[in-house]
Symmetry: C2
């Protein structure tokens, strides 16, 4: 079972980083969930709950009475303790028993996936730990949580391959649907109908999953598809992902709508598309364990600039996992909002998107997004990459 | 539009509490959402974003470039500022312009719905505010956020009435479905099929929405329905809610499965059910603005104990709204995990469940859950209350 696999992995990561224990502390997880919870239990918790994993291989779940049976059924936790009025005492007892020199908790300025602890719950934890003199042992779990999410197991990569396969099949179907006169919203609705028909989830909110942008002067990415009509001579791009057993894909494809009489795209469109493909391929070839994300991002930008295009105002690629945007390490520039993310080295098992973007004046936006997995020696495509511009007949 | 209505209400609440401004600070809200975000925008945000509402009636959205158009389209914010590399500078500029003596931010030890700020984001905010000397002006927004969620507008109560109506219709349908030999899982699947047929959402995770408990010795609440079969002479209870335009219902109903030859429930079952009904009615009658939640909870328990039943190990009732468990004020006992929630006074517009529970030995668990709204002078049922035990023919 995936949870057992990931909890075992967490124990090994704690050993590797010489961190005595990892504590996830949540309440009413359907309101304020912690992204780490998906690796720890298969359901929501209602009352204050703590999940404690130790480098020595112990595992404790301290949970509300009504959640006990469901957590015990997982067969993952060596010790399951339930409470009715509050978890302060049982949590203190467990920590006194472990007596860890460091307690990794889920907060991080740089990484949202390691930042599931709310500030109110942090203050509660300070109270609980202060009473047993352990308040100064808290450290950020960013390294632990990042490694756990980023080092994908074979099971996880397998699930993502299924998500990618379905996404590419749906792209093949939509290429046959797009015609001059269809609206962006109609193209998006067609894609959603194909996702629904396969009983898959959406990788992000369906209002912008898919995004569809047709022609020049469109709104920026993340904007819902409009009533704008597909038009001859325009470039159209789409961006969506599906969720298969909780694991996401995230892929973009670009098409050109031929004008009557045209048999191929005009040179500037072809050049834009080819530049994107080259940018992706050069970036992928530069990827391997140990390289920093910012240096891969720079490879991609260099290809665009050398071909006379402007840099795009976002990162080259993010990790993918249970969320479309997952993990901590980022293939991005050293901008304030990215914090330390672009300065982290790539590791085997990380799954990234590669998604450079450029504008072809008067035509639209060319952007392709592929997914790759970092291997021992480089990076391999998980998606069958788009190498040819898809031409839509007028 | 509801967002405009709630932002206007927020401004009035800030005036009432003499708090200069309310700041909601989020990033990647599909990963770590803030429950207040639903009242501020209609979609997720990706990059670091801040929503600032002031007692003077100003409103600022500082958001990532790609989210700008969607937020501007809302027509709610007087000022919409976008950023590409980071929001530190624009946020500092806005705050210097307002120069608030207090900045309410979303953290709370007591209330999860007011605790959307993660600890990592809190630390980032401390950095941003320190540079402009405002780090000591931060206060908890618990009062503001609680009032905003709890004081339901007519629009909101109207949406909840629709959710309740659909829920009761589905209960009527399932009463005809339950028969000896059906499993709990089959009853649950039937309810889910009726929710799906109405194109409604689930008030909480479908794995336990509905919950179905049949007979004695069942697992505790919050446990998924099992293969246990409905049996003559047993009490069966169900717990589910739907989501209608983002607003929830949460209702429980109890039925008795007649044995062959029986025309009514045995006396101990009838007494258990009647005690629940009486407990709910006495609690409702005691509710009015100004009364503390813990005192209503005590009314309910008293009825059970006086009738010879044990107290239940949870609160009498929680608020309902966009979440099945919503708001801060709670009709609950003074237990550690509930913090100050039971000590808050009721206010007009709060919507609560009333859900006492008791065990009828050898028969099962009797529990009914109604929903009431606090009025100027008391509390009114929003649900048509179950006054008669539903009898299922053998």
């Amino acid at each position: 079972m995936l949870i057992k696999e990931k909890v075992t992995q967490a124990i090994n990561i704690l050993k590797e980083f010489k961190i005595d224990c990892w504590l996830t502390f949540v309440r009413e997880s359907s309101i304020n969930g912690d992204p780490s919870l998906d690796y720890l239990i298969a359901s929501d918790v209602t009352w204050h709950s703590a999940f404690v994993i130790t480098a020595k291989g112990d595992s404790f779940a301290i949970i509300g009475k009504y959640d006990k049976q469901a957590v015990a059924d997982l067969g993952v936790y060596k010790t399951v303790i339930d409470h009715v009025t509050g978890l302060r005492e049982p949590l203190q007892q467990v920590l006194k028993q472990i007596n860890p020199s460091s307690i990794a908790v889920n907060y991080s300025k740089d990484s949202e996936i390691a930042d599931g602890l709310t500030h109110g719950m942090y203050l509660t934890l300070v109270d609980v730990l202060s009473e047993i003199g352990m308040q100064d042992r808290m450290i950020s779990s960013e390294k632990v949580v990042s490694a756990l999410r980023q080092r994908k197991t074979e099971t996880e990569v397998g699930l993502m391959k299924e998500a990618i396969k379905a996404t590419l099949q749906i792209y093949d179907e939509v290429f046959g649907f797009i015609k001059p006169g269809k609206t962006e919203a109609e193209v998006a609705a067609f894609i959603r109908s194909r996702i629904d028909a396969r009983k898959l989830g959406y990788a992000w909110d369906p209002s912008t999953c898919p995004s569809v942008f047709s022609g020049p002067d469109t709104a920026e990415a993340h904007y819902a598809p409009t009533e704008r009509r597909v038009q001859e001579g325009h470039v159209l791009n789409m961006d969506f992902g599906v969720k298969y057993n909780q694991y996401c894909s995230d892929l973009q494809r670009t098409v050109y709508i031929l004008k009557k009489g045209e048999t191929k795209a005009p040179p500037e469109v072809q050049k834009g598309f080819d530049t994107i493909v080259e940018s992706i391929e050069e970036s992928r070839k530069a990827m391997k364990p140990g390289v920093l994300g910012k240096d891969i991002d720079a490879v991609s930008r260099k290809v665009l600039v050398e071909n006379g295009f402007q840099e795009y105002p976002h990162a080259l690629g993010h990790q993918v996992g249970r969320f479309a945007h997952d993990g901590t390490a980022l293939l991005g520039p050293a901008w304030e909002k990215y914090g330390r993310k672009p300065f982290l080295p790539l590791e085997r098992g990380m799954v990234f998107t590669l998604e450079p973007r450029l504008t072809v004046p008067e035509r639209g936006i060319a952007t392709v997004e592929e997914m790759v997995v970092v291997t021992n020696t480089g990076a391999e495509f998980l998606s069958s990459p788009q190498k040819e511009l898809v031409l839509i007949k007028p």
